[in-house]
């Protein structure tokens, strides 16, 4: 033991990081800053536009009001269609993504190969644009709700699996250890040591994905079902802003409902 530690009188300095670490961090921060500066350099702001920007926003916002209440009846059918497809797609994604998530989490994956397989699945699923998935599945299943469900399901795996995997990486080791110590095999450790800990994460992520899927239902539209996304696009392209407003209100209700469901379920599990 170094003597200094036992010298009661001497002033001892304490730093969270050693000088070397501090330097390394500083260097990293500097690089980060430079990268951000490079990005800002690409900004290219036209200042005169910034000056009267509020005026322009008010111009459009004003034309969106009042909402076209009379249009309400016409958005119910597409909304229901959208909800059905998004729900089924999300369920599909949820089922597929849990095994992928387990493989993609560093503390539950079997080995490096499975880790990378899972990562490639996750990244591929989310790197391929929803439109592309929609085209592919429309070719396979024909345009229609089924292609929408599968496209949404496959597309969502990346999101749900990745976020659940990160949740798994953060669990409390001690609780898992205790279950391991009972001689439970992997599957049972999963059911007793891991699942209870990540249940809130799963609920949160899946409900979030559900409402994302509803909002991204232009995909559903593109495979031939008249989802709310298509209705919204049409309203915008026909410059019928009050109709846009009413559709937004409908979407907002769905989003808040998902928020409420998520909150309720997570409370049950936390």
């Amino acid at each position: 033991m170094t003597d200094g530690i036992y010298t009661p009188a001497g002033r001892r300095v304490w730093r969270r990081r050693s000088r070397q670490e501090t330097l390394r961090r500083f260097a990293l921060q500097l690089i980060g800053l430079m990268v951000v500066l490079w990005a800002v350099w690409g900004l290219d702001v036209h200042w005169p536009f910034v000056l009267d920007a509020p005026e322009q926003v008010v111009d459009l916002a004003g034309r969106m009001l009042p909402p076209a209440w009379s249009f309400t009846g016409e958005i119910i059918a597409p909304m229901v269609e959208t909800i059905n497809i998004a729900t089924l797609g999300t369920i599909l994604a949820c089922l597929l993504s849990i095994p992928v998530a387990l493989m993609a989490a560093q503390n539950t994956t079997l080995n490096r190969t499975t880790l990378w397989i899972a990562r490639v699945i996750v990244v591929t699923s989310r790197s391929i644009n929803e439109l592309v998935w929609a085209i592919i599945f429309a070719a396979i299943f024909g345009p229609g709700p089924l292609a929408g469900v599968v496209a949404i399901g496959i597309r969502s795996i990346g999101f749900t699996a990745k976020l659940i995997a990160e949740g798994i990486e953060e669990i409390d080791r001690g609780q898992v250890e205790a279950i391991e110590a009972t001689g439970a095999n992997r599957a049972k450790v999963l059911a007793y040591g891991i699942l209870p800990q990540i249940m809130p994460t799963i609920v949160g992520v899946v409900t979030f994905r559900w409402d994302i899927n509803i909002r991204q239902s232009s995909v559903i539209g593109l495979v031939g079902a008249g989802g709310i996304g298509i209705t919204l696009n049409s309203a915008m392209n026909l410059f019928n802003w009050p109709q846009v407003t009413i559709i937004l209100i409908a979407i907002f209700i769905v989003v808040m409902a998902s928020e409420w469901v998520s909150d309720f379920l997570r409370k049950q599990f936390t």
């Binding site: 024909g142 298509i230 049409s234 392209n237 026909l238 019928n240």
Partner: protein
Amino acid sequence: QMTDCDYRGKLAERYCDMNRDMVADLPLDESEWTDPDTLIFSYVPVEDPAIYKETFQPLMEHLEEVTGKDIRFFSAQSYAAQIEALRSGRLHVAGLSTGSTPFGVNIAGFNPFAIMGTDEGEYGYKMQVITPADSDIESIQDLNGKTVAHTEQASNSGNQAPRALLESQFGIVPGEDYEVTYSGGHDRSILGVANGDYAAAPIASSVLDRMAERGAVDLDDIRIIHESQSFPTTSFGHAHNLHPRLALLIQKAFYTFEFEGTSLGKEFSDVDGFLPITYKNNWQVIRTIQEQNEVEYTTDNISG
């Protein structure tokens, strides 16, 4: 200003149409004229091929040369964004798709003056109604009771035109005599028909030609049962409040541009140059169609 303007037709309240050419007049007050150092140009491919940014480079260079201004080109993907930007003075020169040109004119003071065409003065594309090759649908009347894929509501040849023309010419009312489903785009309608998923679909001839050329669809899988008259393609125009001298220079630049031997020429192989047009004459057919479909232009009026 209100008192100065006693006619504006369908134009939004902020514009005026004293000369009754159906497009917004140059503001009387010279202080409202703009003469920016950098011209902003955008183009939305809807019934035209998707393009990469550099395809338009030769035209931009030519414009810079003739007008002496810097040009910034944006290939955008939403004409709502484009027209709103035009209305806000964020956009000076634009190419608007057939169906959205009337919106641009009425909502945003767009002033279309050119269209791509041949030296012979031919331009435009046709609406075609297609069915699978092995289908028993022979004529428009046979569509009765079938499910037909339209592209999307705002599209001209994919929705507006068939709704207006099939009724007047064949007595078939889309949505009543046959069921309408929206496919989301011309190419999706075409692929759907080729795969036998849709009984029929009205589409833009230009898109079908292009897809066949690229091998995206086999023409043997498809039969054309109806072809309409020609519709104008994308209109090129400028904002109503550009300084008249600048507006003239821009028009001149377009009219003098040679497609031959440029990347643009390669892309639009059957086009030789920009032909002069007027909204009042060349868009007559589109206006009729939209009128029949009861499309509203001036959102100012809707919001009261």
